[in-house]
């Protein structure tokens, strides 16, 4: 994957009249797979459209791959692939024709566009179906075609707006696997979703939006609250914490209350053993934020 930030945003505000969609955002998105998280109406699609240069910000600056989408929209779009959330497929065209056409829209010569169309449809698992009309495709197949058109022209950055929307559980898993593979191909990804488990499984960087405000921006592993266990003991808090620390678990002590982790479900076992070893007197042990979703809800409540 490339180095440096693919997106840099300073003081970004965008409103639709009286409705403020994004409010004074400052953030950097590095190379890799980034999840754009937020409830419906959080400003995710607005941000993607701003990155494409389809909307002009009310205030602030944006840089995408080193270009300003306001002043150089075509330069930005030449290097970006976009998978819209909405239905965007002409039902009377074959998958091969449509994907080849979208490659030509990005300036790829017709013969090469046809070849890349076949290769990309193979990659997304539609090689056998590529000469079928899009109107005959299932929702899962249509989502794959939408992904194929977004990557057929070898973009540096792909913006995916709710790519797993409408898919059954199996289709969702396959789509997320495909998205993870894009990282292996040196393609940076910004994935917008309100399904937080998708983000957890796919991304290495997370941007959380809520009502147009930035809740959080950072690497997924820095969301320390994920997979933690909250413990309350009666005595010997220091000894109890020391044992857990010696086993490699992060611990933060607040009076008689400790947050241990992050980690898997082996933490609970380690806590019980440490409590027994130190006679600390275990009063309470509950999971902290077990998922990004919990964390998001906590942040929303706190904001």
């Amino acid at each position: 994957m490339g180095q440096g930030n693919v997106v840099e945003i300073n003081g970004l505000t965008h409103d639709y009249g009286e409705v403020v969609a994004l409010s004074n955002l400052d953030l950097q998105i590095p190379s890799g797979i980034t999840g754009l998280v937020g409830a419906n109406g959080a400003g995710k699609t607005t941000m993607l459209r701003l990155l494409l240069g389809l909307l002009h910000p009310t205030a602030g600056q944006i840089s995408v791959l080193g270009h300003d989408p306001q002043t150089e929209p075509l330069a930005v779009r030449a290097r970006i692939g976009y998978m819209p959330e909405i239905d965007c497929l002409p039902k009377d065209q074959t998958a091969a024709d449509f994907v080849a056409y979208t490659a030509q829209l990005a300036g790829i010569p017709p013969r090469e566009a046809k070849r890349r169309s076949s290769e990309t449809l193979f990659l997304v698992g539609l090689e056998e179906e590529r000469f079928r009309y899009l109107g005959d495709f299932s929702t899962g197949m249509q989502q794959r075609v939408k992904l194929a058109q977004a990557i057929v022209h070898d973009p540096d950055l792909v913006l995916l707006d709710e790519p797993a929307s409408g898919l059954d559980p199996e289709g969702r898993v396959q789509m997320l696997q495909l998205i993870r593979r894009l990282g292996d191909f040196d393609i940076d990804v910004i994935l917008s979703s309100h399904v937080l488990t998708d983000i957890e499984q796919t991304c290495n960087w997370v941007v959380m939006l809520d009502g147009g405000d930035l809740l959080r921006n950072g690497p997924l592993e820095a969301f320390d609250e994920l997979g933690t266990v909250v413990v309350e003991v009666i005595d010997n808090v220091e000894g109890f914490a020391a044992i857990l620390s010696s086993q490699g678990y992060g611990t933060s002590v607040d009076g008689r209350r400790l947050v241990v982790g992050p980690g898997g479900h082996e933490i609970e076992e380690a806590v019980v053993k440490a409590a027994a070893a130190t006679s600390a007197g275990l009063v309470r042990m509950v999971r902290g934020s077990s998922s990004l979703e919990d964390l998001f809800l906590q942040k929303e409540e706190g904001s």
Partner: protein, 293 residues
């Protein structure tokens, strides 16, 4: 027995040339032609456009045959067999059907199927998109008018008593009169059907609206143009479909007097009406698509 291995071909990067915005415009133009002609679509999508094209070309060939049967081109034209100017009138109904079919096909499915969101995520501007669509429309409708004229021209050259080459050289003016007349037809029809197709979401309704506007305009103009109230003569200009015919008559000789001519307007007024309509259509459609992008 051979060992069979399935290879994951992965993803191939592309380092070759990229045409940029001009490549995108060219792709939209070509795809517009393919959509209207039903190329790359199911067979039933081809039936309507190709039937109209076939009828138009065969009509021209039949007229060549009639001219040949009569023996003398001037005599056959005198007897009412259509020549260049008359051919425009003869298949006006077919050409209007083709226009009513083509323009909605060029604009509406992209919009209603959400494909615009893909177009405008590529290096393509609204103006680039619309200009490619207009170019596709002009190429299709222009060809629809010109190809039968070409068949007629070559046919008449072949049956001419004076011989092929002398007929061509004696009728060189056809080479600019036919394209200019065609341009007038394409311009006024495009100026009507594009705005309608930009706001109506069903191709059939847009086609019907286009034909309805033409019919209503001509009907109102015919009834009101000779009335005595002040400004009545200006109503004659509402016969929009007759402006290119007035231009055609200017080039090929009068056939009938249209309401605008009866009301005393010269040919330049028809040119002005067409130009104003085109200008209004360009501004309207551009504004509409800028909001959609």
């Amino acid at each position: 027995m051979t060992d069979q291995v399935i290879f994951d071909r992965g993803y191939r990067t592309y380092d070759g040339p990229r045409a940029g915005p001009s490549g995108a415009r060219k792709a939209v133009f070509k795809e517009g032609l393919r959509r209207v002609l039903g190329l790359g679509r199911k067979a039933r999508k081809k039936i309507f456009p190709w039937s109209l094209i076939t009828i138009a070309v065969i009509a021209a060939a039949v007229f060549v045959g009639i001219h040949w049967a009569i023996g003398d081109i001037a005599e056959s034209v005198g007897e009412g067999v259509p020549s260049y100017g008359g051919l425009f009138d003869f298949y006006s109904a077919i050409s209007l059907l083709f226009i009513a079919f083509a323009a909605p096909q060029l604009l509406i499915p992209d919009r209603t199927k959400g494909v615009l969101s893909v177009y405008f995520s590529r290096p393509l501007t609204v103006d680039g998109y619309l200009s490619s669509k207009v170019a596709a429309f002009a190429a299709l409708i222009g060809a629809f008018y010109i190809v039968p004229q070409l068949v007629l021209h070559i046919g008449l050259s072949l049956i001419s008593d004076g011989g092929f080459i002398p007929y061509l050289t004696d009728n060189l003016d056809i080479l600019w009169k036919v394209p200019l007349t065609t341009l007038a037809f394409v311009a006024i029809h495009g100026a009507l059907v594009f705005p309608l197709s930009a706001v109506i979401n069903r191709t059939g309704i847009a086609a019907a609206a286009f034909l309805g506007v033409l019919t209503a305009g001509s009907g109102i103009a015919a009834r009101v143009a000779e009335a005595s109230f002040p400004g009545a003569r200006w109503v004659s200009l509402l016969a929009l479909d007759q402006h290119p015919r007035i231009i055609r008559d200017h080039f090929f000789g009068d056939t009938v007097d249209y309401p605008a001519e009866i009301a005393g307007f010269e040919v330049w007024m028809s040119v002005v009406v067409i130009a104003v309509l085109v200008l209004v259509a360009v501004v309207f459609v551009r504004q509409r698509y800028r909001r959609l992008a």
